[in-house]
Amino acid sequence: MEFSNINIIDVLPGMFLVTASLLAVLSIAIKRNHKLIFGLTSGSLLAVFVYLLVYASDHQFTVEPLFVIDGFGTFVTGLIVMSSLAVSLLSYAYFEQREERKEEYYILLLLATLGSDMLVISKHFVSLFLGLEILSISLYAMVAYLRKRPRSDEAGIKYLILAALSSAFLLFGMALIYATVGSMEFKDIGNYLGSVSNLPITMFAGFGLMTVGIGFKLGLVPFHMWTPDVYEGAPAPVTAFIASVSKGGMVVLLVRFFGEINGQNYPVIVLSFSIIAIASMFTGNFLALRQSNVKRILAYSSIAHLGYLMVAFLAGGSLGTEAVCFYLVIYFLTNIGAFGVIAILSDHERDAENLDDYRGLFWRHPKIATVFTAMLLSLAGIPLTGGFIGKYYLITSGIGADLLLLIGTLVVNSVIGLYYYIKIIAVMFDKAEGSETIALRPRLYIINLVTLFVLTALMIWYGIYPQGLIDRIRDFLQ
């Protein structure tokens, strides 16, 4: 009889998050205190990050059979934890303005972070599915968190039904692959694929069904229909979380899975992902052109951005992984920043999501308008911002792998995308008369402003001097 010998140190980041969420539950049971639970959440997220920096940065190990903790996983875990920290810093003021019960939100935030962490270090279908479900189930409640808004219920139900359906697809795909291979570990699947000359039909169907599940989570075309509605209905900090942590975890998993099974060697898989990528870029950008709701514009732009990211993913190799890491950092920074601006401008009745809420913003709140402008320019990929370097990196990795069609699409779409980002910026500088009467009256909290400034500073710093971040990524990936 053999018993597992899991070293508790190996899984400490997860343990931190689990302990923090349990402490959060206990603190609610004793006394509800928004400040306390906010401090607990932020403190534990920071603790995980410090632990990763100090202890885990050059450790590599596997926790058989479920997890692999390597440089790639550690780097993205750190990124996810810091993004959650930024989201929680932005959430405090946002939920403080609203009268509803706020404390449960932080438990869900911690658990969703845990789920995403498990996703990025999993090397087994069981841990993949558990991580994904922890993430999704926490998100259902987070999306519908504000009970007084009718729209949030709609978004929650929509996300619940579609995510459950896509989980079913994913599960069926995994079952088919397991039935063929007889193992749920990524490495065994890769070995099996190496031993057969052509793909059996069950594996084929399995990969197809898994693509549906993964594509849904990433919001890629044609599984993107939930994105605008959920982005619009969810509270702004939760939207930031969905856009960054939830999608990022899945991207990393996809990269890891494809690395293990050498997905780039199968023309059919590459072709289908290329079609998905091109369709995502065009659909996202064209649909964003016609929107007048800022949250929806950002939702469609995130569809397009995931399409861009697929270029580096399809390029594969070490350069592709580097590009994915770099792009994720920039994408997280800009998205959390952009939704942070929406959160800071929202008042207790609704979120600042109409384009008209931003009319003349530069004259009312010059600091926030500057931050938002910087974030939008980075999303558009203007030089001197992080977004430019990110796109440059994507294109470099794509050229290395001869993906010329995809690169051409990326370039064309960057130009299309410029239009709607510039449109928002133009509205902010536009001084229309009478705009003060319809303006929302947000209460600005210093903590939000500081978070936004830090995000902007980082984003511009990485745009001007990316070498530091690139070196750091290379250190981790080795």
Binding site: E2, S21, V63, R101, E104, V126, L130, I137, R147
Partner: protein
């Protein structure tokens, strides 16, 4: 043994199709119980008696509890009894009953033959399940705990009763 597997699998598919095509939720629930029991038989034939038992206890049991809840909520007034009679006419329960009888016959046959090895040639017993759950998959079990916790916290928050329970038509000012 192969034939018994296909019969049970057929029953499972048939009853699941009936679940999603029924209009009345009670009728759908009846077929859902049959579907779970068919799956349990499939598990049993495949050589996983523990999974079969869990399937019956957890899933089929939960559905029975649901039905009891519905009956309790009917509150047993006269019109409720009439409603119940309308729901449970013979043409409603004869379908699930026939499918159940097929499954029962199969189970008796399998036990009677005495071939408990299953079609895969090996039996996964309780001890093995326990060893793998609390051995190599212990982190998975702990993560499932976290999964349930997020579900409960979310359900608690979303299911909380609002303080003001006024119908939306009553909120309109008098004209």
């Amino acid at each position: 043994m192969q034939v018994t597997f296909y019969i049970a699998a057929g029953v499972a598919i048939l009853s699941t199709i009936m679940v999603i095509t029924r209009f009345n939720i009670i009728h759908a629930l009846l077929y859902l119980v049959v579907s779970f029991m068919a799956l349990a038989v499939v598990f049993y034939i495949m050589g996983a008696p523990f999974a079969a038992a869990l399937e019956v206890i957890v899933y089929a049991g939960a559905i029975v509890v649901l039905i009891i809840f519905v009956i309790m909520m009917l509150n047993l007034k006269s019109e409720a009894v009439a409603q119940e009679k309308k729901w449970l006419t013979p043409e409603v329960y004869v379908g699930p009953a026939i499918l159940c009888i097929i499954l029962l016959a199969e189970l008796i046959y399998t036990i009677g033959v005495g071939n408990t090895v299953g079609i895969t040639g090996q039996i996964v017993d309780v001890k093995e399940v326990g060893q793998s759950l609390y051995g190599e998959y212990i982190l998975g079990v702990e993560l499932s705990g976290m999964l349930l916790m997020s579900g409960i916290v979310g359900a608690y928050h979303l299911g909380r009763q609002k303080k003001k329970v006024v119908h939306r038509f009553l909120e309109k000012p008098e004209e």
